[in-house]
Symmetry: C2
Subunit: 404 residues, 2 copies
């Protein structure tokens, strides 16, 4: 019934990880070899390594309208988010014990905040609407005198919904005219390739972003920290990163991160337009070809590269594995929880019913995604859905006959 | 007076960082490019990445006689040490609040332990003798019923002294026949290329070691954790590394780490013999050519690749910079504190007097170090010392006339 795989791999899982392009790898290579020196060493090689580190830091700071001393390098997006959440909460403990996060945060923020409850903090999880959107009024209504930290994900890593961070920060500032403003953190890991990330314009105090999600190597990330925000470190040792993240800096990775981010930001406008058009076409055709298909995420405020759909009556894992047999790589949601069989907390938060919640697939596009590849998916995927429906224990008849 | 630099760079700072050899880089490259998948992804690429991760973990476990599930990958030696110290202490807090470390630990252990005092722990810093050696009897005498953690560095990163870890663990076990044994951690970052690191034979519960110090890439490290030792994580998020270190695994780095460690361990016996011979020759010639020179570290229980000397009356920084002008890269001690002008805590711990403590240089050898290169250093360094002595404000006359 189905044609064999046309592609050795048609990768549509860019939100889980991106390859390091040859030109980025090229920029990294010298720092593994002749230029491998420890930036903390005092000899010529060490001093040169320190200059390279400074340059990468300044370049990255410039791309988000920050100063060099506002960039803290870490080992992963998870670490940046933990340093933001746990670090800011512990540092402000004398001022209050209340933390607000959204219910659709990445697990790094969610679990870090959850860990704070064991240290005497109270954590409010903001509800979202069916699109995964936060209502600014609801956020403001939960602010208390003791609220020291608010964290909201900029663009959701599962369903792609984009939250108006600038509006939220402005409303928080307005609401806090007569009291101390809480520290405002946003997780911009998925946002940074496609959205405005000027930290001054956004009005954020802390922003997490990482290398692996912008086409750079895994193993390095950054935390933007507005100069006068105080953090407690998660670990201790040498004097690197203003004592907030000790350990020898991984120069080749930092070089790759800076280079990849530069390319991603320079291609941004063009890629947003191109991917939005592809996304619109792909969704339109999926809806035409798959009766009953539900597209998740906000209809307009959404990442251009994420298409998250639910197919009633079918298991997401089954679709994933059959797509995989045809060379198409996707995920059911966040890779970080791929083998966790509990329903996605994001889909629970948007109120997806329990008979639908296991039937989701996330297609995420990247620089190599083009119409021809999507045509292949549009050819293969509806047939997979039809086949799974025919063998499904759930009655799927209703969907097939459903008028459009 | 001095010849110009013969070498563009004669690197004798291997203890601060090692280049990634071409064959190791070669092993890493595929995982930046085509094989870049997230090991948590469920599709074929993700499953393959997970197998590569499993293989790297099994290979590394095998090299220290551990099981795969006893290896926790982290982002740096500093992170491994922090996870060991802070993680083990927090997890055992209900059992006791006393921690013992040596006074010559790396800053990662020292500062992590110091941070525990803010959480209600009491930390005992064991004294060492003038060679940096720990007396087992002294350690045992500090054990209490409330002692939950002991941490001793295997081979000192500044002066190279090697501590008999196996003897210490056996004596701790003997002393704890009628009570709960504390968790025993050793920092083996400098030791692992040259010493026995069979964790069962050593009798350790936790062992820190990293990639950058064995010729692998910076940005990845491991913590050996005996299966039934409990740790609290430093950060939270996805389910990687048994929930002890969340975040996407950096596959190319892990592959490079495993490959570099394999090479280092396979060359170990040969390199130990070769470097010990070079070390002996180098020290003998330095003593002959530089009156008053003091060799630090234990006379026999010492790393084969570290030569740490004190030259009375001269600043270490001045020697370092003049050596640097001749193309010779060394350090004054730990790179992690190179720009910290306070005296080294290791030299303070071995009782070095304050007029000597600033006059130290660490030469650390590696695979490319050979007799010819050392001959050049032996030619250049005594002349630098003589020149610095001639312009020094300290009276150096006494050293020059000193009988040998």
């Amino acid at each position: 019934m189905l044609k064999p795989a046309k592609y050795a791999e048609l990768y549509l899982d860019y939100a889980a990880g991106t390859p390091v392009a040859p030109e980025i790898l090229e920029a990294m290579l010298p720092y593994f070899g002749n230029e491998y020196h420890n930036p903390s060493s005092m000899h010529a090689g060490g001093r040169k390594a320190h200059r390279v580190l400074d340059e990468a830091r300044a370049a990255i700071a410039g791309m988000i309208n920050a100063e060099s001393d506002e960039i803290i390098f870490t080992g992963s997006g998870t670490e940046s988010a933990n340093l933001a959440i746990i670090g800011a909460a512990r540092a402000a403990k004398a001022k209050g014990n209340h933390v607000i996060i959204s219910s659709v945060e990445h697990k790094a923020v969610l679990e870090a905040a959850k860990s704070l409850t064991k240290e005497g903090f109270e954590v409010t999880c903001l509800p979202v609407d069916r699109y995964g959107m936060i209502d600014p009024g609801t956020l403001i209504s939960h602010l208390r005198d003791e609220t020291i930290l608010v964290s909201v994900i900029y663009a959701n890593n599962e369903i792609g919904t984009v939250v108006p961070i600038q509006e939220l920060s402005a409303k928080i500032a307005d609401a806090c005219i007569n009291r101390k403003r809480p520290v405002f953190h946003t997780d911009a890991c998925q946002a940074i390739s496609y959205l405005d990330v000027d930290v001054r314009a956004l009005g954020v105090d802390l922003m997490t972003f990482n290398s692996a999600k912008v086409g750079g190597p895994t193993g390095v990330a950054a935390l933007y920290k507005r100069r006068d925000v105080r953090l407690s470190p998660l670990m201790y040792g040498g004097e690197q990163e203003q004592l907030l993240r000790p350990g020898t800096e991984a120069l080749p990775l930092l070089k790759g991160f800076a280079h990849a981010l530069k390319i991603a930001r320079s291609l941004r406008a063009k890629e947003v337009d191109r991917l939005l058009e592809l996304r619109q076409y792909f969704i339109h055709e999926l809806e035409n070809r798959i009766p009953g298909l539900i597209v998740n995420g906000h209809p307009t405020a959404v990442l251009p590269n994420v298409v998250h759909v639910t197919i009633p009556g079918i298991e997401g894992e089954a679709m994933l594995l059959m797509l995989d047999e045809h060379g198409i790589a996707v995920s059911t949601g966040s890779a970080c929880s791929a083998f966790d069989l509990r329903p996605s907390h994001v889909l629970s938060a948007i109120g997806q019913e329990s008979d639908l919640i296991h039937g989701s697939i996330r297609f995420s596009f990247g620089r190599d995604t083009d119409k021809e590849k999507l045509e292949y998916v549009l050819h293969v995927f509806p047939a997979i859905v039809a086949r799974l429906r025919s063998i499904s224990s759930v009655t799927t008849h209703a969907y097939e006959k459903q008028p459009r």
